[in-house]
């Protein structure tokens, strides 16, 4: 087991490294571009040279790459081009906010999607199954910003149920109130992520229901209910763990549009601002951090999967 964890850890490190390389090269595809992009057309040669010197863009590409990676490993996220201050000052608070939003969303998404998948599977072929499956997947292809705006329009503006911004400016700053404000944005994310997770969960439950071991359980004399709770769920939920991990990238990507619509000073808003202003330092570091989060979740999911699945945990010994 230890060997397995170490191996996966090693692979994760490789992945993060590759991400760094990819991100770096995407940003620096056109040499000399960064400076010109940022300063715009009216920049003089001196301005460009000065800019390049300050941000170390006059070094060779490889030197820049390794310099950047070295800095990252020390926790230095670089200097923002817009604000001429450390990127960490801008990103870290934003990440804090986004984590709250992502957290609330996660706690909504996981139980509701799994429940949806299980209900669909247990009522296979009936109307509720079709509704959950088709409805879920249809909702999933409608972009988050559309959902966000629709929710704001209907629930927020027309019916005044939920607040239309995600951030309680004045008044009640308690945790509970913060969560209340985050519910509507979380629902936007839920609508998009529900479909696929429910679908995979449903498939896992159906496979377990139709398996030989389920048949054995019933033929042993277990009532269907008992057989399902004792034998089916633990096998059915294995693929669900994997699919939830695979949806984390979409959760993070979705933050951008949702935060903009709900006026939330989170990671997504900062990233959008950096894109508009061509602040590549912020962009690079931002993307790497989000990828790090994704890779960590993937690692946890893989380990959880192995722990719960004896086939991986214990190799054939006979």
């Amino acid at each position: 087991m230890k060997q397995f964890i170490l191996k996966r850890l090693g692979l994760s490190v490789v992945t993060v490294f590759l991400v760094a390389v990819i991100v770096f090269f995407l940003t620096h595809i056109l040499p000399g571009n960064v400076a010109r992009q940022y300063l715009g057309r009216g920049a003089t040669e001196e301005d460009l040279a000065e800019f390049r010197r300050v941000f170390g863009l006059d070094r060779s590409l490889l030197a820049q790459l390794f310099g950047w990676i070295g800095d990252l490993l020390h926790g230095d996220l670089g200097q923002s081009m817009q604000y001429r201050g450390p990127v960490s000052d801008i990103l870290l608070p934003a990440i804090g906010y986004s984590s709250k939003l992502a957290g609330v969303a996660f706690f909504l998404i996981v139980p509701i999607s799994i429940a949806g998948g299980v209900i669909a599977a247990m009522n296979r072929g009936k109307k509720i199954d079709r509704a959950i499956t088709v409805g879920g997947l249809s909702a999933a292809v409608i972009p988050e910003f559309v959902w966000a705006i629709v929710l704001v329009l209907t629930v927020g503006v027309t019916f005044h149920i939920f607040p239309v911004s995600a951030f309680p400016d004045e008044g009640d700053r308690s945790l509970l109130n913060q969560i209340w404000y985050l519910i509507l944005p979380s629902i936007s994310l839920l609508l998009v992520l529900f479909g696929y997770i429910a679908r995979i969960t449903r498939a896992g439950v159906i496979e377990a229901l139709e398996s030989d071991y389920m048949r054995t359980a019933v033929l042993k004399g277990l009532t269907r209910r008992k057989a399902v709770s004792k034998h089916v769920l633990r096998n059915a939920l294995l693929p669900t763990i994997a699919v939830i991990a695979s949806q984390v990238p979409y959760l993070i990507g979705g933050l951008i549009a949702v935060e903009i619509v709900f006026n939330y000073p989170g990671f997504g808003t900062i990233l959008k601002g950096a894109v508009d202003a061509r602040d590549y330092s912020v962009l690079q570091s931002g993307v790497i951090i989000s990828s790090l989060v994704i890779v960590i979740f993937q690692l946890i999911a893989d380990i959880l999967f192995a722990v719960l699945n004896p086939r991986i945990r214990q190799k054939v010994s006979e």
């Binding site: 019933v218 033929l219 042993k220 004399g221 277990l222 004896p310 054939v316 010994s317 006979e318």
Partner: protein, 677 residues
């Protein structure tokens, strides 16, 4: 209310149907049978006859689209058809249990095996800790050595035989009055199967449970059951005491079935197998008259329009046929092949060596370990000869075939020589003529034929590549080959999925013959086919050999088939040849101890009781072979032979113990003869 005379299970005019695409299709037609307490009843039939449905019906377990459309299922006198669900669950907990094929998947992969067995006890109200103790005792009862360790294992860590024992333990834990077994040993190696069957017989003796035993294997049924019922297309066509039915089969189907099995003593050189023309009908086909009429050589118009009733042959022996008295002497049905050979070379060299395999070895790397799958194998094959390769799983027989064909390359020192010419180690380096000279027919035609290609294309392309024909000539030749193998012209443009198993194999054989091969490797070519279809394919292969002079390397786990079709046989164990000789010699003795054990584990159709020579222990893993002779930890003849130390320390060589008969054993042949008489 049940008395001593009430049958444990009775099916009375049972009719079951499946709803497929909106239409109800009859799966079981008016079945009546009864099983007395403690009796073993065998239900035998080919694929699609409905035997599994009957088994599950006894458990009142039908798939979602199945329903009982008529008749009754009486357990100890009480009809369970309309019983409430929890009553049925209660019956399953305490009175009826089931064991079926694929034991590994029958167990939950994420729960420890011991807990699953204990669950049965817990269901009858026993505490958890007591249940675990009783579970362990149950494992002892099924002869599992070291039950404490097995309890803690998971399903994927058990071998097939071990898993089946666990499932049997689980089934017997509730002390059932009826045990339903649906193909419980299919897929297990012969020696393992024999052990499991022995176990079942012993347990029956000890517990007095009635058994409903379902199988397609007539030998096993004969061996295990007191009474037998033959099922065809969902109808019970004959029923009676085992000896009666086998000695005096009175339904044309039963007669045909018995005739197409290659029994001991038959050989291709002197006898030809009977076949049952046509194919078994699809599940749910409707019949006005007798279900078997379309394939029966005794059938007349009456048979086709009127449903025959059960006719008493003698005592409890009944058959559903108008012509039951003529059944046993019904005319033989033997098909002929019209194969058009295009090769001139083959016939002339009989007697000489065509293929020579020398010192082949192969090491695979699995999870970082090196596994020696084949260890220094040397064999030869003559012109127009069939070499049978026999061995259980792990023996390496398929790997040898792959080595010979070049699909896998041998280790240093291994040489394959075809007609005097050494062949390149890998397929890519061999020239077209050599590649076309050695072809293969695989076991599973669903995977061996590209499902997106038409039959013509499959064979035609092979002709194109191997004979260098242009496309239209290749297609003509393809049509010729296919028709010669009795694949009718109307099917030539079909895709494999539209053909039956037997037809698919014929297409595969046509493809193998596309390049005018000198050698065709047959890797379990009939294992996936019904017995009646198997006979036709075997006859086809024999005909091809007679007309074309082609040689075969015939790999099979079915000893009866190998004995029938092979001229010489090599027995493999753990990647080594341990015996090699003519078919006669290998099957009549004196035997290598492994061969002896192997042969004794196959139940005979003619009912003769062969002394069982058991192999103790489990097959060792090829990554960790025993020292000395690889068989020694399990060898039934080691103890008392006087050669124990030698067996444990030194690996014996393959030596010629009689002219043309080779054995790998320290014990001299004379001593073996003495021990085996």
């Amino acid at each position: 209310m049940s008395t001593a005379n009430t049958p444990t299970l009775e099916l009375r005019n049972l009719e079951v149907a499946y709803t497929v695409r909106g239409i109800d299709r009859e799966v079981l037609r008016d079945i009546s049978l009864s099983i007395a307490p403690g009796e073993a009843y065998g239900l035998v039939g080919e694929s699609g006859c409905g035997k599994s449905t009957a088994a599950f019906a006894a458990m009142r377990y039908l798939p979602r689209n199945g329903k009982i459309t008529g008749g009754a299922i009486l357990f100890e006198g009480k009809n369970i058809v309309d019983m409430a669900d929890d009553e049925v669950s209660s019956l399953r907990r305490s009175a009826i249990s089931m064991v079926y094929q694929n034991p590994a998947t029958a167990l939950n992969p994420t729960i420890r095996v011991g807990d699953q067995v204990a669950e049965v006890f817990q269901l009858s109200g026993i505490s958890k800790s007591d249940s675990l103790e009783m579970a362990q005792a149950a494992l002892v009862q099924v002869q599992i050595a070291d039950p404490a360790q097995v309890m803690r294992r998971y399903a994927h860590q058990l071998s097939g035989g071990m898993a089946q024992r666990v499932v049997i333990a689980m089934a017997l834990a509730s002390n059932p009055r009826l045990l339903v077994m649906d193909e419980p040993t299919t897929g297990l190696d012969a020696t393992v199967e024999a052990e499991v069957l022995d176990l079942v017989r012993e347990l029956r003796r000890d517990t007095g449970t009635a058994v409903l035993f379902i199988s397609h294997n007539l030998g096993v049924i004969r061996h295990m059951c007191d009474r037998v019922g033959v099922l065809y297309a969902g109808a019970l066509v004959e029923q009676g005491a085992t000896a009666d039915l086998f000695n005096n089969p009175s339904h044309p189907y039963t007669v045909g079935l018995l005739r197409c099995i290659p029994r001991g003593g038959l050989h291709k050189s002197t006898d030809r197998l009977d076949t049952i023309p046509g194919t078994p009908p699809a599940l749910g086909t409707h019949f006005d008259g007798c279900v078997f009429a379309s394939r029966c050589s005794l059938a007349d118009d009456n048979c086709r329009t009127q449903l025959p009733q059960m006719v008493t042959i003698s005592g409890a022996h009944v058959a559903r046929c108008f012509h039951s008295d003529k059944a046993i002497s019904m005319p033989r049905s033997i098909e002929q092949t019209e194969f058009v050979s295009q090769s001139e070379i083959h016939a002339t060299h009989s007697g000489d060596t065509l293929l020579s395999i020398n010192h082949l070895s192969k090491i695979f790397t699995q999870d970082g370990h090196k596994v020696q799958v084949i260890n220094d194998v040397s064999l030869n094959l003559g012109f127009g000869e069939t070499l049978g390769l026999v061995g259980e799983s792990g023996s390496g027989k398929t790997t040898i075939a792959k080595l010979v064909l070049g699909l896998v390359s041998p280790e240093e020192g291994g040489v394959v020589t075809l007609d005097g010419k050494g062949l390149a180690k890998t397929l890519n380096r061999r020239d077209v003529h050599d590649v076309g000279s050695m072809q293969i027919v695989f076991q599973n035609p669903d995977q061996a034929l590209n499902r997106r290609h038409s039959v013509t294309r499959i064979v035609g392309r092979a002709v194109e590549r191997l004979r260098g024909f242009n496309v239209s000539d290749a297609i003509d030749r393809a049509h010729e080959l296919l028709s010669g193998m009795r694949v009718e012209a109307s099917l030539h443009s079909a895709r494999p999925v539209q053909l039956s198993g037997g037809l698919k194999q014929r297409v595969a054989i046509s493809r193998a013959f596309a390049g005018s091969p000198q050698i065709v490797v047959c890797d379990e070519p009939t294992s996936a086919l019904d017995v009646s279809v198997q006979a036709a394919i075997l006859n086809l292969l024999v005909d091809l050999q007679k007309q074309d002079g082609v040689s075969f390397i015939f790999i099979s786990h079915d000893l009866g088939v190998v004995r029938y079709i092979s001229d010489r046989i090599a027995v493999l164990y753990l990647g080594r040849v341990i015996e090699f000789g003519t078919s006669q010699r290998v099957f009549n003795g004196p035997f290598h101890p492994y061969t002896e054990a192997l042969l004794s584990s196959v139940p005979n159709i003619d009912g003769s009781i062969r002394k069982r020579i058991p192999l103790t222990g489990v097959v060792p893993s090829p990554s960790n072979p025993p020292s000395g002779c690889v068989l020694n930890p399990r060898c039934p003849r080691k103890a008392g032979s006087g050669y124990e130390t030698l067996c444990e320390t030194e690996e014996p060589n393959l030596t010629e113990v009689e002219p043309g008969h080779f054995m790998r054993c320290h014990i001299p042949v004379a001593k073996l003869k003495q021990l085996q008489s």
